[in-house]
């Protein structure tokens, strides 16, 4: 059940109405049942994985990880991490590691026939496993109290607005809201939630899904495409992935807000960043802060000199790449980002000057570098990415004409221009800030968004890109 489907609209209307009608003490039960139902709409059997993850994490954290005995705590933590990562390895990385073992053994001329698994990747597995790992680490570090209520902990793991594609919530932010929910309906929260949902739906259905048609068309037949077409497709993919994922995150936040819960902001106009480091502070914030808090800082962060900082950056970003998918192109995507961030750190160290007049040039440069990394992200394989870069490097300007001349292209471009105009209106703030604008302006924007969704929105309810992770 996708957020951009009519079935979800009906589901949410029912949940919303019942939620604000029943007594507060029963609301967590309603949300838990709704969350499990929502997840089972994809593949009912995979609910067992969530139940397994929830039950094991709950008992290990309550019996070991929260213990005063440091040995027990460590055992508990490693059990939590091993079980969650184990699930990820089995369901997400099994075939990848099989290939890796084969490649290594081939070097030593040892014959090995990989046994590939045919299991479908459970939707959202990378998100809820990382959420429970962060909970276990926070309990281990005594940054939060262990959750004693099994049902409420289960809701923390499976809260449906953010279950399948984040934001990866922290227990210290979400659990208190589950334990002490807002008793009164807030019209302000309702309006903000509605704005976020409409804005997210616009990003997804009007922009991302239309842009996706072109990106797929060019990338799927990249061998026959010109460099100009592939360059154009790469810029379009930058728009697609942003609108697809930010659209989902906005809808998730909006849905949670309408139920009285606050989720963390996942994107803050990332394409207006003037450095790759800043880009990663504003892109998929819940994941980048996760890696910062649980990988980068424990490795030593930037406190142990430039060489150690570079090493930590490279490790963190490579793992970040691997998190996205079991494929070498994702690993390479992470490595390139790690390289850019490290390079920036070295440049800042050598030339610690700030030129304000370079700001727009830096934004332009960062956007183009990020687009370069997207080629690895979008490609099906490392070889494909290299072929595409090679084609782009040999582009002829006249090829661009044929891409632009396609008249269906106008929807994607119109949507993108509107999107960036709105983003420019609210730099580094939530779109809910629109409520501070004049009433006529606000209502015109709301109407424009709703009519655009009805007229231009993809009616087929296309899958979100991040569901595959």
């Amino acid at each position: 059940m996708l957020f951009n489907s009519i079935n979800f609209l009906v589901f949410f209307c029912v949940v919303f109405t019942v939620f604000w009608t029943i007594p507060i003490k029963y609301r967590w039960i309603l949300l838990l049942i709704s969350s499990y139902f929502f997840y089972m709409c994809w593949e009912p059997a995979y609910i067992l994985l969530i139940l397994f993850s929830t039950t094991s994490d709950y008992f290990i954290c309550n019996n070991l990880t929260c213990s005063e005995n440091i040995k027990k705590r460590k055992i508990g933590l490693w059990l939590n991490i091993s079980l969650n990562l184990g699930m990820l390895v089995i369901f997400k990385y099994f075939n990848f590691f099989q290939d890796l073992i084969k490649q290594v053994l081939d070097i030593f001329q040892v014959s090995y026939e990989p046994q590939y698994s045919n299991w479908l990747l459970p939707v959202g597995i990378s998100f809820y496993t990382f959420q429970t790992i962060s909970y276990a680490i926070d309990v281990y570090r005594k940054e939060i109290e262990v959750e004693k209520h099994f049902g409420k902990f289960a809701l923390f793991v499976a809260f449906f607005p953010q279950l399948v594609a984040g934001p990866i919530e922290r227990a210290k932010l979400l659990l208190p809201q589950i334990n002490f929910p807002k008793s009164r309906f807030s019209s302000q929260q309702f309006q903000d939630g509605l704005i976020l949902i409409i804005w997210g739906l616009f990003q997804k259905a009007v922009v991302a899904d239309h842009v996706a048609i072109y990106v797929d068309q060019y990338y799927n037949s990249y061998v026959n495409q010109t460099g100009g077409a592939l360059l154009f497709a790469t810029y379009l993919f930058a728009i697609q992935i942003y609108c697809d994922f930010a659209g989902y995150s906005n809808m998730a936040r909006g849905i949670a807000k309408m139920l009285g819960y606050e989720l963390m902001e996942n994107f803050k106009t990332p394409y207006f960043s003037s450095s790759i480091t800043e880009f990663w502070r504003n892109w998929h914030i819940s994941l980048s802060t996760w890696f910062k808090d649980y990988v980068y800082i424990p490795l030593g962060g930037n406190k142990k000199g430039i060489i150690q900082t570079v090493k930590n950056n490279m490790i963190t970003m490579t793992l970040g790449g691997l998190w996205h998918g079991a494929n070498w192109n994702f690993v390479m995507w992470g490595i390139i980002n790690g390289f850019f961030i490290s390079f920036e750190k070295i440049i800042h160290l050598l030339f610690p000057f700030k030129f304000k007049w370079l700001h727009f040039l830096k934004i332009f440069l960062v956007f183009n570098l990020i687009c370069l990394t997207w080629i690895f992200f979008r490609s099906q394989s490392f070889e494909q990415a290299i072929d595409i870069i090679y084609s782009i490097a040999n582009l002829k300007l006249k090829d661009l004409y044929f891409v632009i001349a396609d008249n269906r292209f106008s929807t994607a471009i119109l949507g993108s221009i509107f999107l960036f105009l709105v983003e420019l209106q609210f730099p580094n703030q939530s779109v809910t800030e629109i409520r501070k604008k004049h009433i006529i302006y606000r209502y015109l924007i709301y109407l424009l968004l709703c009519i655009s969704i009805l007229l231009l929105g993809s009616s087929s309810g296309m899958q979100f890109i991040y569901f595959q992770f």
Partner: protein, 314 residues
């Protein structure tokens, strides 16, 4: 709460008014649309034509078959990338608007139309005719079958034009997308790059797709067309145009389709199996699926002979 309720009410009234106004304007544009994308071809036929023999199909029908070779009262009606879902809905519409061909319906089918792997396409075929949601019972039922809540989308007048509105705005500038004097035929001009395109497409052919005749939905749509023809005493002939190069699975699927049609006693002309040598010249092809104008004319003559052979000599 009261203030919020009032705000929502005002917004809904504004949205409803804007939706009706834009929907009304797009309806007007749709009715004047004769450009062949966005059902302009269908619109043209419904408003201005009534053929004795009608050829219905995808781009392989309207690009490959020149109806004038069959006679002045033959018309080719099709949309690119459409399948049995669109054909069934269109023929239902023709019956409703009393525009069914007076004598013969030549339906162009490809074996992939019956492959269950392509059932999603059948669904999108029907949605392509969503303008008729409230106007045609078959389309209404088929759209509602997709989801029990599908009707909610159609509370909006704009939604009937979802996806085609920009084309509707630009179509009046483009006029009619085919020459009316060519009775729906859209010939493709040949160019120097055609043979490269043909060879590239052959290289890209999906060889993993196995032969299949498994889509119950496609069979349902086909039966609907057959029933309409039987009810209205219309001769139904199924054809499959040749490919420059068809892989073995494709030919095998066509064989499965031939057996199905034989059981129903419906004449079937399959050029995938028996393509005359004259049509195998690469210079007659635009790509692996479509002839250029010269190829289309030659193919139409061959097709006419075979169709005439189906009928008892007078």
């Amino acid at each position: 709460m009261k203030k919020l309720g009032l705000k929502i009410l005002i917004f809904i009234i504004l949205l409803f008014s804007a939706d009706r106004l834009i929907g009304w304007y797009l309806d007007k544009l749709y009715e004047q649309n004769f450009y062949h994308y966005s059902n302009g071809h269908l619109n043209y036929y419904l408003k201005k034509q009534h053929a004795d023999t009608l050829i219905v199909g995808s781009s392989r029908a309207i690009n490959n078959i020149n109806p004038l070779i069959f006679g002045k009262k033959t018309f080719a009606l099709g949309e690119p990338k459409k399948h049995l879902g669109w054909f069934a809905a269109v023929i239902d519409l023709l019956e409703q608007f009393k525009k069914l061909p007076k004598k013969t319906l030549i339906l162009h089918l490809d074996p992939e139309d019956f492959n269950s792997l392509h059932e999603d396409q059948l669904n999108s075929d029907i949605h392509y005719l969503k303008y008729y949601y409230n106007k045609n019972e078959f389309i209404y039922n088929e759209i509602n079958n997709a989801s029990p809540f599908e009707w909610i989308k159609y509370l909006s007048s704009c939604f009937r034009h979802n996806g085609d509105n920009l084309v509707l705005l630009t179509n009046p500038l483009q006029g009619v997308g085919f020459l009316p004097e060519q009775n729906g035929f859209i010939p493709i001009k040949s160019s120097d790059k055609d043979s490269i395109r043909v060879m590239t497409e052959i290289a890209k052919m999906d060889k993993n797709e196995s032969a299949s005749f498994s889509s119950s939905k496609a069979i349902f749509y086909f039966d609907h067309i057959h029933d309409i023809c039987l009810k209205n005493n219309i001769e139904l002939i199924i054809i499959t145009s040749p490919l420059f190069k068809a892989d073995a699975n494709f030919i095998q699927s066509a064989q499965l389709m031939a057996e199905f049609l034989k059981r129903k006693n419906i004449p079937y002309i399959n050029f995938l199996r028996n393509c005359p040598n004259a049509l195998k010249n690469i210079k007659l092809w635009f790509d692996n699926l479509h002839f250029n104008e010269q190829g289309a004319n030659l193919y139409s003559k061959e097709l006419k002979i075979l169709i005439n052979n189906l009928r008892p000599q007078e």
